[in-house]
Amino acid sequence: MNDQLKHLTGEVAKGKMTRREFVGRAAALGVTAAVANSMLAESARADAHAMPKRGGMMRIGSSGGESTNTQDPALVASEAPLNNIRSWGELLVEVDSEGLIENRMAESVEASADAKTWVFKIRKGIPFSNGKDMTPDDVLKTMQRHSNEESQSGALGIMKGIADMKVDGDNFIVELETANADLPYLMADYHLMIQPNGGMDDPAAAIGTGPYTLEIDEPGVRHAYKRREDYWDAENRGFADEIEQLVLNDATARTAALQSGQVHIINRIDPKVASLLDRAPGLRVESVAGRGHYVFIAHVDTEPFSNNDVMLALKYAINREEMVDKILRGYGSVGNDFPINASYPLFDDSIPQREHSIEKAREHYEKSGHDGSPIILRVADGAFPGAVDAAALFQETAKAAGIPLEIKREPNDGYWSEVWNVQPFCASYWGGRPVQDQMYTTAYLSTADWNDTRWKRPEFDKMLNAAKAELDAVKRKEIYSQMGRMLREEGGVILPMFNDFVAGVSDDIGGWNNDPNGPVMNNMSHIKCWLKDA
């Protein structure tokens, strides 16, 4: 079957084309209707009996890699290095695509009734790639390294609430200062890869319990991996014999590499080209609604944003639908001025959606008594893809409501140190977190380092802590709903849109499964997918 026909059958399978259309198009390519129909049946059968295949070399093209990257899990902050540590390392637990906890190095997880003591039973007989077996002590050392005040770990913040950790036989036990029903979700943080002796000897040694071993490490260029024969979960992961990750930061270079067949999977497709790329033969574009969102953030302790009518005026002035259409090209959904959407567990969908309304914006603006001096919004290209354009759209709709929004363009360089979390009003993004508690704790707790809207409300903190300790899901959902409503009404975050994760996948790849936890199957596509023709 030639590429064109293969592509057409794929389109039918994806529901983009009807059977009738397919037969018509196939006829144009010189195929009789009978043959076309049997082709379709064959293609459907092939999909239904998709069995993992072993072997071959899978290549992925990733953005977010630099020549400064390291294999130390504590310092990972972008996608290419994250793909790296996922290749050789594993966590205690993971969050699966349904939002449930999947046990990895832990065999089982149990909480005490007050959710203050957590017991992780550690699996036995799982070898590290250096030949030694992983022990509960390695788990303890790993967690100690990441919770050390002197460490530079990105997981330091989430380790702070832990009062004590110890090993008891096969168990790794965590004692919390305050109860937290979501602790396993925190332990699924990707920095917390279990390393021999906690990685204290050589954190960047790339030795772990994952399916691959590091063969070539050229940061910012490429990373090559080889499958381990002694991998413990070979049934489910690590199908390709070899993995090669090419760092392709340029969006066009990435799509060109996928189109010319030099890589099988690419991350971060620009929404502007996604629908065009999807029409190309031999590949498809996969998108999944995630928890990541783009925001305009104001400090609510600073004039004029401390005046809630100014905030409400800005919130009504922004046209969310237009932003999703024009900035995300439909690869996303509208936001509602609090950082939670339906991708989170315990989301309350009865909270009304804020609609764009020039009248209400004008009404609130006039009520605020703002003196008419320009409200300065700082923005850079790097704040989020399309941030400058989004700010321009915002400025136009605000102008219609009589709000003098002024855009100040900032350089990408130094944006995260000089503007974000420093200036009172700017554009930014959040990657989202697996659970509501973590999102709120990271950015909306009074004492959070990244409280980038200066949202300091004792009653909000109290609700957050109450929800943490609440093991009854119904009551928890109610508390989270109240918090969401409060932030929506009075918070400093203007949240116009949640962005989808958009990836490009070659038709040679089997086992793709959209995962809202992160881009490219939560950065595990290379260890969970297989090559159909291997």
Partner: protein, 318 residues
């Protein structure tokens, strides 16, 4: 002492002084960048305590002058230090990257320089006739299109549509020379198109200038063929300006191709430098900056010396 040796010694000394001045400028420039390396390494995930810890660990609390002389001393003794951001040996990473950059620059130069000079000579031979106009029109068009655009166009046609060469130019040690050349074929084409016009036009202008001279007319009156006149009489006298522009373009091929490196994911010096600038990795930025400055100054030095040697009036001063 022979005046030429003196002149060359003078040039070399001047070059070294320039390099020293450049190192001070580079150091001062990196100091002025907003934010510091600790802030950039931790990015959005920075907390005050992790920042303070990292700063102390990286020695960012020493005064700038101490850091400058420590580094310069290290550089002169061949120790480029380790990168702040990932703890790797800079000398090792740089030599790999520099090797790649020179590899690409070499092949681009090997094709573009002879081609440009040949086309320049051809343009002079057929001055104001269609070959001259065609050569100028084509080369001026390609120099006017941004290089990344030419890159994308060639990727689309040559790599995606025709499938001849790879669109990703990542090269590594285990590749054979043939595989490497295949990988860099498209970027070499792009670079050739980008630098061709400058050198071709300069060759044409320099030779045409000489062609006005009385001795060319004499040669013509002797009945010499046009190409032979250009080759024997005009070209040797036009070498100085041509070498100058060739060297400028060679320097560009080494230090100015970061856009091409990004488009083709080529692991060269430019991308390496940009990554480290954005991480405020001062030692790496300075090492790269100084190497770039040395390449630039060195190539210009060569151009100067060649023009001195090519010019009898400078060779035999009265």
């Amino acid at each position: 002492m022979h005046p030429i040796i003196k002149l060359i010694a003078q040039r070399l000394a001047l070059g070294l002084m320039l390099l020293f001045a450049a190192s001070i400028l580079i150091f001062g420039g990196t100091m002025m960048l907003p934010g510091d390396v600790a802030q950039q390494i931790l990015g959005q995930s920075a907390t005050p305590e992790s920042l303070a810890n990292l700063r102390a660990e990286l020695g960012l609390n020493d005064p700038p002058i101490t850091r400058y002389f420590n580094w310069l001393g290290g550089f002169l003794t061949g120790d480029l230090g380790t990168a702040l951001s990932n703890g790797r040996d800079i000398g090792e990473s740089v030599s790999f990257r520099l090797g790649n950059t020179l590899f690409l620059a070499f092949w681009a130069a090997a094709i573009s320089v002879p081609l440009a000079i040949f086309l320049g000579l051809l343009a002079v031979r057929y001055k104001d006739r269609w070959p001259d106009k065609l050569i100028s029109a084509v080369t001026l068009t390609t120099i006017s299109i941004p290089e990344f655009m030419i890159g994308y166009i060639l990727i689309y046609w040559i790599s995606i549509q025709l499938g001849w060469f790879s669109s990703v130019s990542i090269i590594y040690d285990t590749m054979t020379l043939g595989e490497k050349l295949n990988a860099i074929a498209i970027p070499v084409m792009v670079l050739t198109l980008v630098v061709l016009a400058h050198m071709m036009r300069m060759t044409r202008a320099a030779i045409l200038n000489v062609m006005q001279s009385a001795y060319i007319e004499t040669a013509e009156l002797k009945g010499m063929g046009m190409l032979k006149i250009i080759r024997k009489h005009a070209f040797p006298n036009a070498i100085a300006p041509i070498v100058n522009v060739v060297m400028l373009n060679l320097a560009y091929l080494v230090v100015g191709v970061v856009v091409i490196e990004v488009v083709f994911a080529y692991p060269g010096m430019g991308q390496y430098l940009v990554d480290h600038v954005s991480k405020r990795d001062v030692p790496v930025v300075q090492a790269c900056g100084l190497i770039f400055a040395a390449v630039y100054i060195g190539l210009n030095l060569v151009a100067d010396i060649v023009s001195i040697l090519a010019n009898p009036r400078l060779r035999h001063p009265k």
